[in-house]
Amino acid sequence: MLEIITFSTLNGVLYGMVLFMLASGLTLIFSMMGVLNFAHASFYMLGAYFGFEISRRIGFWPALIVAPILVGIVGALVERFGLRRVHKFGHVPELLFTFGLAFVIEEVVQMIWGKLPVDYRVPPSLDFTAFRLFDTTYPAYKMFMLAIAIGMFVALLVVLNKTRVGLIIQASLTHPNTVAMLGHDVPTIFMAVFGAGSALAGLAGVIAGPAFVTQPAMAALLGPILFVVIVVGGLGSLGGAFAASLLIGLVQTFAVAINGSLADIFGASAADWFGDLGTVTVAQIAPIIPYFLLVLVLIIKPTGLFGTRET
């Protein structure tokens, strides 16, 4: 039991941190531009594929730097030549633009790299066992992922709280109009934030690619969960996104470890009363729990756990 708890906590925190790497960028973009970027997970996927392509040519470590930058450039271009044009039509067309973009990116990825998973591996220098606990091994690469994610979190905190750029961004979160009136070039800030957010997603993709499987459906698998995270945490709240990422990561991981069903609680007759529901175990519905949480939170507190804005 202790074994399961330890490893579920580790895995949950790791999954939560990967979620946060994406959620932070998405939250920043949303806060400043009011756009919920449906294609955000697609940038994560692009990061994984770029990482794969670069690391098989010049190695993993260069890929770790270059791939996120490339993804950031793609993101900035999308903002400059796509979103900015749509911006004047309002938020719904903006959202729909990113919706279509997610579609196109997935198709293009399928065309270039095929529909099957690509052979994106953990670099040999990190391919060893970090530690062994209760006879279960934990790969070093996952510790590395955790370190990168925490590093990014710290860097983000520093940038946002200690630098001028961070102050402007923070100001834009709450008072976008005032920031514009102070003479800052808001369109360029938008482009930079969109690019930076995409780059963060790309970084997450580069390091998550070898750990999970790099395949064309990876964006679609993660995308909806990501929305859950930022909505549950509270739209526009970075702290909320952090808390919600960890919460969802842990909840999902621990739910898998639980075997109970209504039939266990109420006895075998539960199957008669609840039909199929009686025999469903908690583990079975683990991946649905986030959506439950989402609907529940929005009904009780539409601003999310830590949010202050509604739209």
């Binding site: 998973p117 279960t136 499987v213 991981t253």
Partner: protein, 411 residues
């Protein structure tokens, strides 16, 4: 494929008015040719096209050429019905499909209704891979024939092999949470209990279909259960990710699978570096094929760069050709009558037969594991250098299971 599509387009326009359709025998291949399922669907299509070419090169069947129409169903049952309608409009008498029992159920139902409502436009549904047992049990009908062993038959063969393995003591079941996974786990429980009452089932997991990105929590549970063997019906990314997570956690168990050989499977096994521990239940093992079949395997691999995945498609196409010859007609009813009960020397050389009671094909089944190949073996998988090695054979007779089918034959 483009050529096939182009020609099907021409056929579509021509079929509207003329009897041009009668010149070829058309088999409509209804499977995903776009989207995520396409990687599998395209390979299947190539099998059919290649076999049709072989038959046409030797003069065709009853003086006509075989023609394969590739129709994209996007793995959607409702879309499949539209595509089946297209096929009929183009003069196809035979539909073939394999990916997804949901589509299989829809098509078998479609065939019955269509043949009842439009007696002049009847079709046969030739199923090469939809394995839900119900198709040859409660939902069986005269117009459906299945060449793949259904999932119960596969479990029967698998457990027949497992029962003689004394090192199997604790078994963990992990399956996708839908009808196929459900039938795998219930049959596994039932058959293991009957054949090996001493084996302990230490876990029985169902997880959502194609939704899990990290199987680490599941692997932690398997590990904690102390299992030495895992049985899974998982396919696609669900098997690849599962094996990967298991390798990360250093889980040392034997894997008994249905679809570890599917696209991307061997690559994942090689990546996870677990040689000889992943077993699959299959109807053919490339390196143990008879010489004349290995020639086919070699030619196919050279041309398309992939394994000849579907020995059953070979069985299907050649049996269909034989039935058409025997009936001297490509009318569905006459062909179906000849297919029933037909005996056939299969791709692997053993004898197979299409059971008349339920239109289920029976053949020798093989249990093989994936690992480094012995010297002299010709065929590896997906360029990994690893290949399948036969560990056991279950004779066709021993895979037979009773059926609940009550076949309604047209008079």
């Amino acid at each position: 494929m483009r050529r096939a599509l182009a020609s099907s387009f021409i056929a579509l326009s021509v079929a509207m008015g003329s009897a041009y359709a009668a010149d070829t025998i058309k088999i409509a291949y209804i499977d995903p040719l776009s989207g995520g399922g396409a990687s599998v669907g395209e390979v299947g299509l190539k099998h059919f096209q290649w076999l049709a070419e072989q038959i046409n090169a030797s003069g065709g069947v009853i003086g006509k050429k075989l023609e394969i129409l590739g129709l994209d169903n996007k793995t959607n049952p409702q879309e499949s019905l539209v595509q089946a309608q297209k096929a009929i409009d183009q003069g196809a008498h035979f539909l073939t499909q394999g990916n997804g029992s949901s589509v299989g159920a829809a098509l078998t139902d479609f065939a019955v209704k269509n043949n009842d409502r439009n007696p002049d436009k009847q079709v046969l549904y030739l199923n090469y891979a939809a394995v839900d047992p119900v198709l040859t049990n409660d939902k069986c009908n005269f117009w459906h024939f299945r060449w793949d062993a259904n999932s119960d038959i596969k479990m029967q063969a698998l457990t027949n092999y497992m029962k003689d393995k004394p090192n199997i003591k604790k078994v963990y079941l992990i399956n996708q949470d839908y009808s196929f996974g459900e039938s795998v786990r219930t049959e596994a429980r039932k058959m293991l209990k009957a054949k090996r009452p001493d084996v302990q089932i230490v876990g029985d997991e169902k997880h959502p279909l194609l939704k899990i990105t990290d199987f680490a929590p599941y692997v932690a549970k398997i590990k904690a259960s102390g299992a030495d063997t895992v049985i899974t019906g998982n396919w696609g990314q669900d098997i690849a990710l599962l094996l990967k997570a298991a390798a990360d956690a250093g889980l040392q168990v034997d894997w008994y699978t249905y679809y570890a050989g599917g696209a991307g499977g061997p690559t994942a096994i090689k990546q996870s570096n677990i040689p000889d521990r992943v077993f699959a239940i299959v109807e053919g093992v490339p390196n143990d094929e008879p010489a004349e079949t290995q020639k086919i395997e070699q030619e196919f691999r050279t041309k398309y760069g992939t394994t000849f995945w579907y020995p059953r498609v070979y069985n299907e196409v050649y049996m269909l050709a034989q039935a058409i010859k025997d009936a001297n007609s490509d009318e569905p009813k006459a062909v179906a009558a000849k297919l029933e009960g037909m005996k056939f020397k299969t791709f692997m050389g053993g004898e197979g037969y299409m059971r008349k009671d339920d239109h289920q094909f029976f053949q020798d089944m093989y249990i093989a594991n994936l690992g480094p190949l012995p010297a002299g073996a010709k065929f590896d998988e997906e360029g990994t250098g690893w290949g399948w090695k036969t560990q056991g054979v279950v004779k066709a007779k021993d895979t037979e299971l009773p059926t609940t089918c009550k076949m309604d034959r047209p008079s």
